[in-house]
Structures are given as C-alpha cells and as structure tokens.
Amino acid sequence: MTKNVQQIDQVVIRIAGDSGDGMQLTGDRFTQETALFGNDLATFPNFPAEIRAPQGTLAGVSSFQLHFADHDILTPGDRPDVLVAMNPAALKANLSDLPKGATLIVDTHDFTTRALARVGWSSNPLEDGTLDGYQVHSLELTKMTLDALAGSELSRKDAGRSKNMFALGLLSWMYSRPTDGTVAFIEKKFAHKPDIANANLAAFKAGFHFGETTEAFAVSYEVKPATSMPAGRYRNITGNLALSYGLIAAAQLAGLPLYLGAYPITPASDILHELSRHKRFGVRTFQAEDEIAGIGAALGAAFGGALAVTTSSGPGIALKGETIGLAVSLELPLIVCDIQRGGPSTGLPTKTEQSDLLQAMYGRNGEAPVPVVAAQSPGDCFAAAVEAARIALTYRTPVFLLSDGYLANGSEPWLVPTVSELPDLSVEFATEPNGPDGTYLPYLRDPETLARPWAVPGTAGLEHRVGGIEKADKTGNISYDPDNHDFMVRTRQAKVDGIARSLAPMEVEDPDGDAKVLVLGWGSTYGPIGAACRQVRAAGGSVAQAHLRHLNPFPADLGDVLARYARVVIPEMNLGQLALLIRARYLVDAISVTQVRGMPFKADELAEMLQGVITHE
C-alpha cells in the first residue's frame, strides 16, 4: 500500500506514559532522529521527582514534548499537535493541553475500569464522547508489541516494556524519520543484553511497519530540513551537556585544569555525571559530602590554580552562601552554576523556575557582589559557561552562572563552534614580587580590571596568606581600620561594576524599528519571548526584544536602551526578580509579567499579553 506523504512545515508531538515506560528515552531518540534529519527543534521533558512513581497514577505521568520544523523555531511549542498516551493517566494528565483537532494516539491496553477509576474516570473516555473533536487513534500498542515479540524468550512483562519502541517506530514512520540511528543506538545500549536489544529492535520495526500497512493512518508527513539557519555543523544538545562542554572548553582555553566540587541534586547532577567522563581533559570531579564541601573543595582548587567550578540547584546554592562570601573576600576565580528549579525549599525538584536571581545577587552576608551570567537556550549554555569563566578568571571573582531545569534537560540543534575560534582565556599567574623590597602584595590590583594577582602555591618568593577577615589594601593583612574597610567594600563593588566596560553593547531586536514596547528578558524565557514577538509582528504589531546575558553588572547601555521605549515589559518565571533590579536601578516603571508554574511560558499567552500592552500605549 503506498500512502500519501503530506508536506508540513512544523509539528509538535508529545508522548506521555508512566515514569517507568521509557518516555524520556523514546523522546530522546525521536529527537535525535529529527536532529540528524536536519530539522530545527526544541524539546521539553517533563517528569515527576519520584524515580518510578506508581503505575497508572496521575502523579506518575512522565512526558516528552518535541517541536520540529523546516525553519528556525524557538520553543517546544505551546500545545501538542499530536499526543501519544500510553495509558489512561497519561491521557488524563495531558488532555487539557491539547487543542481541538489534534491527533491522539492511545494505547488502549490499560483502559480497564479499575485503571480508569484510579485517575477519576467513571466511564471510558475513548467511548463516552470525551474525545470528540480530536482525531483519535485507539490502538492496541501493548498487544501489538507482545505479538511482535511472540517468539522471544522474554517474559510477557519484559516484552511489554518494549511498547515505547513500538510507538517510536510508528512515529518514525508517520514523520518519515531516518531510523538507522535508533537501530544503532539500541544495539549499543543493550549490547550486553541481546535479548532486550532484539526485543526493542523487533518492536521498533513492528511499529514502523504497522504505520506503513495499517489503514488507520492514511497519510504520513514530511517536515523538510531547516536550511534557513546559519551555515555550519550542527548537533543536538541539552543545556547541561552544553554547559559541561563549555566548562571543559573554557579550561582548555585558559590552559588550566578544570576542577568540579559538587554534590548531586536535580537538575544539576548531570553536569557532575558528564564532567566525570572527561578525565582525559584533565577534569577532576569530586563528589563531596555536601554542597558546602563541594564549593569548599572548588575554592581550594582555585587557590591552587585550577579553573574551579561548583554546580547545584536552589537548595544547595542556599548552603553555599557563606563560602561564596569567602570567595568574594579572597578574590579567587570560581564558577557557581545554579540550575534553577521550582522553590521555595525542596519545591518542585524536576520543574523549571527562575527564582534564584535574587539569591544569586544577595544570598550571603555583607556587601558581597558577585557577577551573574545567564544562559538563554540549551545550546547557549556553552557560550554562557565560557563567558562566566572569562569573567571569573579576568576579574578573580566568583561568578554565578544561571541555568534552569528547562534549559538543562531541553535540547536544540547547536551550531558547533570551531575550537580555534573560541576566545583566548589564558591566565597569567603572578611569578614575581610586586611590592617594595621584593615583597609580594596579594591585594595590589590591576588598575584596569581591579583584579588582584593570582599567585599559586609552588611559586617561590610569593608565599602569602589570605583569609575572610577584612584585609588591608595591597598587603592583604588583617585590618580593622574603618577607612580601609570602607575602601575595600567599595573597591570590590567597583571591580564587579567595572566588568560592564568589557561587555558588548546590548543587542535589541526591533525589526520594524518603530516599536514602543520593549520586552526585556533573561534566561530560558528567551525562546517563548522570541516566539511571542514573532507572533506579534506576524499580526502586524511592533515590539522590540532584548535579552540579558549579564544580570550583574548590567550592560553599560541598558539604561539608554530602556529609555528608548515607552513601555518595558519583563516576563519572568518568578514573582518579578529582574523587574525589581531594573526598577531600582533605572527607575523605569517596568511591567512585571510573571508565571510560577514550573513550566516555560506559552508563546501564545505572552503574545496576547504583549498585544494588550501595545494597544494600551
């Protein structure tokens, strides 16, 4: 049977099932196929904090959303065009996100009265009209998987586990994806368990063939590769991976060994995992007994001359405050990565949020300014990490690098940089006395950057002591002198403020040139804001967009930029933390638009809000 192949320019697919159903893996594979095919894409994994939350419950539903297109896109999509639901709970939990007309592929296997009751359905939604208005494909995915594996040695239970691969096969057919990568992946992943490898392969192929042969699916789709993107070599990458690579690259660019001191925590742990795999690059990873020891060890390594890093998320960052203050006082380079998640307290460990900005700014005692850098997309985590390293090394200061759960786990195609074109971060250690009579003055500053020299142990003649008590200017000796303290407090602040001089002017995207409203953002809202601006512009409106890489200090021209617009709107996944800083600094009556739902903004909703503001002006 030959089938219709229909060209479309983009699609949003969500697959959902139990946390034990392998939804994340399935999503990853489909993404990888899609990336290699050359589409632009963006993903949104969404899962509970429990490892295997109980089967068939709403709490246990795990989902993965993929948006891909033949042109460049910015978000994983507001609402799925296609939902694959592996059980009643997955259907129930995701149905409200589905626009009418969307395609629904449902595994009917678990639609028993008991399972339905467990999620609060007293009748079967596949039959009772609940799904009217959707294109529903009720399929026996599990049964078909078992049938496909009839000859295998696996138990029924184990065989049934391959149903995600059946679904992946079907989707691969539906969207004309290349399948070689997945085949190779399965073979490699289960190399030591050939039974499982074979079952997965069989299920995957069965799913693909089912699509080809069944009459249920009359058409398949094709989304052409995206060619409008800048030329170069691309790969698909998640934020945590890009961030890890950025750190490894920065260390090599600086000519320093990389040292990570970290304690596992969601969603930051994967950076520890990733970095631990690259020892050949001279990367040392130390899984510490807690977050304080993690940053402590990093600071010790910084004293010894390493590019030192600590990674955590909100609760762990809260524990590091005192040590960050010490790093401020010691003026040693140190990168503190905060992969933000829902707060306060333990909050929502696997959900995203931007609510640690003010913690990064002020979460320690005394006047302890720390530069803050934020990544705006998964791939951008690489550049953000390199920039954080540049600041840390140039200014001898701890630096906050902010990412979040959405960036950490989400992925996108990334234009792989050429290593030889990356910035030179090389560092000069102090090697000679810099004071009178051959003495070494550890706090004699570079007049330009106000950075102090970095003399590492092993350098003869530069033996010196540093500490957290206030230090005399130049000598670094303990000093309780009032004027010296005032001077040192202001000098540390001036050093951080002075970083602004090294920053490029702001880039404002205002294609129409006549926008009255500026949307200012930071971090992972970049995609949704950008998509919303495109919608506004597509609808004939004018809006300008600027996105901050640097939250502290702000770029020198930010005030001028803000002054050019009648209205400034600041969307944030918190209660208005950047808005507070902007209002205080520039006295601009910025409109703070906030959502704290553990999820990225929907571009639609942002666009609607912006339309309102524009109309109002």
């Binding site: 990888q32 990336a35 290699l36 990568g181 590769p225 995206a226 060619t227 800048p230 030329a231 170069g232 070599r233 691309y234 790969r235 698909n236 990458i237 690579y245 490894i248 690259a249 090599q252 040292y259 001191g261 690259h278 020892k279 050949r280 690059f281 001279g282 990367v283 040392r284 130390f286 510490a288 007994e289 304080i292 020891a293 402590g296 060890a297 010790g300 390594a301 910084a302 004293f303 010894g304 005192e322 040590t323 010490l326 010691l330 792989v416 940089p417 290593v419 030889s420 142990p457 092993g458 350098t459 003869a460 033996e463 010196h464 002591r465 540093v466 500490g467 957290g468 008590i469 303990i478």
Partner: protein
C-alpha cells in the same frame, strides 16, 4: 627528605602574633616552625589552611602559602587543594569547635577518603575566640557562659571519632611537650594520607589547666600512657602500671603489673584492624585520667589524591585530551551540516 637549608625563623612571618599571653598556641607555633625545616619541603610547596578560631589564626604566622578560611570548612577546602595539587604539602589547622562541632562532617569524610592532609587539631576543650562556651570536647557538666547550670552534652573523644571514621593515622600530643609534639609531627608528615593529630592545648583565659593532670609532674606519670611502637604499654613513676589484655578481651589498665606479665600489651600502631587502636582510645575518661599519647594508628591505604590522579592519567593515556579531542567532543557522533 632533603635539606633545603631552611631554618625555623624562615617560617616566621612579619605579622604580630595575636594570641593571649600564655596561650598554648605559642608553643605549638614554635614547635611547628621548628619542625618545618625537617619536613624537607620548600616553603612555597607548603600550604596551611585553617578554619576560624584562635587556633585558626595559625596560617598568618607561617611563612608559607596559607588560607584562613571559614568556620569548620578547612578540611573541605584543603581536600580541593590537595587533590588538585598533589605536589603540595597541605596542612590543616583547626580547633575542637572548628573540627568537631561545625566541621565534624568534613573531618570524618576527609579521614575516610584518606586525602593527603596533615590535620592539627588544637584541642583546648573550649571555644576560645567566641569567649568561652563549652565545646564538643568539654567535659559533661561544664559551667560556661552558655551553660550556667552545666553542659549536658556527652563529649566526643576525637581519637575514637577518627577511628570510627576509617582514619589511617591518628595521634595525640601535648602543646607543652615540644619533643613529643615534634616526633608526632614527624610521624604525621611521613604518613601518606590523612593524618589527624590531636594536640592538647591550654587556653589560659577560658579553660586554664584543662590538661594539668598530664602536665603536672606529680600526677603526670600516673595518667599519661606514652605509646611507642614495639614497646610495652607501661607507665607510672616506676613503670608499675600497664595496659593489659583483660579477661574478656578488652584492654584495661592495671597497677603493679609484674615485669614479665605476658598480658602487657606491646604497642603496634600498624594493626590493620582499627579495633585495637579504638580500644586504646577508650582507656581515657573524660578528664584525661589515662591519656594515651603518641600514635594510635598508622596504616597504609591508597590516598584519594593519588587515585584521582591515577584515573586522569589512565584516561589521558588512552586518548589525550588535546584541542583536536575537544573539537571532536563538541561535534559528537551525530552531527549534520547546514550549508
């Protein structure tokens, strides 16, 4: 150990020492400065890292690299330094509050990991710098500013804590006994891995005389047990007391032990099983009545530092992490080109 021609005074800094007159810290400082030349390590390759407390001011007075860090965190910071720079000789100076109160966790983890640190724990059984609250080593019922009716906390025995935490080297010495202190510093320096040295230190302002039982010449011999490898654990003015194997297998002290009593324990710090050293540590009551002094335990175990370096070397030997390797890492296996 090479002779670098260094003298104790080479380890003095130009900073005024700011301890109270009469503080035991002075004696320890002098002993450490006196010992340093024997370490045979260049000044620039030595680092002293401390926490916060009177004792933790120590690095300012040592003409080496140094860091006066924050309360309780010195073992963690030193772990980062030592594991990233195994070429250095890293020393930690800490107090009983710094090491065992706020810093207890970092201490026990450094010990189990066997990071190559020499930890000098100045135990004055009091918080000196904050003006005299009881510490985790203060005796039960101690009346201090924060415990006007007496403290309720059963104290730690730092040696027992360390042995329970898989320590490879544990010793105890005394501020006022320069010779003993120096010999213990020697042993600690020779040890590869974490060496915990508890140093009884007199705080003459807030806890004066805490160790008088083993300092005063008329009680000292009755209570101090000097442990020397290969030597019977005998003490007392005429060596009439001894540590013996009790009937139920535990170690006990007996008086008037015959010269040839086979039950007398011959000290061996190299038992693989820490149970022996632990039993020795329990001879002590809270008021130092029996105070075994010297090296309790000294065994070999690969250091964390060397194992970490080893993994890096193995990995780099397989495939060096050069610029080309970085480029191919970034590209990954699955990539595509847009023209």
């Amino acid at each position: 150990m090479s002779d670098l021609g260094l003298k104790p005074k080479d380890f003095k800094t130009d900073q005024e020492v700011r301890w109270c007159p009469g503080c035991g810290d002075y004696a320890i400082l002098a002993a450490v400065q006196g010992f340093m030349p024997e370490l045979g390590v260049a000044r620039e390759d030595i680092v002293f890292i401390s926490g916060i407390g009177c004792s933790s001011r120590f690095p300012y007075y040592m003409n080496t690299y140094g860091m006066h860090s924050i309360h309780g965190r010195a073992p963690a910071i030193a772990t980062g330094l030592s594991t990233s720079r195994p070429d250095l000789s890293v020393w930690v100076v800490t107090g009983d509050g710094d090491a065992l109160s706020i810093g207890g966790n970092h201490l026990i983890h450094a010990l189990r990991r066997n990071v190559n640190l020499k930890i000098l724990l100045f135990n004055n059984r009091i918080y000196g710098l904050t003006k005299g609250q009881y510490s985790p080593t203060s005796e039960l019922g101690k009346i201090t500013k924060s415990t006007p009716m007496g403290s309720l906390d059963h104290p730690f025995n730092p040696v027992s804590v360390a042995l329970g935490a898989e320590a490879t080297f544990v010793a105890r010495t005394l501020d006022s006994d320069r010779k003993h202190l120096t010999s213990v510093l020697h042993a600690a320096a020779d040890h590869e891995g974490t060496a915990l040295v508890e140093i009884y230190q007199n705080c003459n302002i807030f806890n004066d005389g805490a160790f008088d039982v083993i300092k005063d010449s008329d009680t000292r011999d009755d209570w101090m047990i000097r442990m020397e490898d290969g030597q019977p654990l005998r003490f007392g003015a005429n060596g009439q007391k001894a540590v013996v194997h009790g009937a139920d297998g535990t170690l006990v002290v007996e008086d008037d032990v015959a010269a040839d009593d086979p039950r007398v324990v011959v000290h061996n710090a190299h038992h693989d099983n820490p149970a022996y050293a632990f039993a020795l540590s329990r001879l002590q009551s809270l008021d130092s009545r029996y105070a075994p002094m010297g090296v309790f335990r000294s065994v070999q175990r690969a250091t964390y530092d060397s194992m970490m370096s080893g993994q890096l070397e193995t990995a780099a030997a397989k495939a060096p992490g050069d610029g080309a390797a970085l480029q191919s890492l970034l590209l990954g296996a699955d990539n595509w080109t847009i023209a």
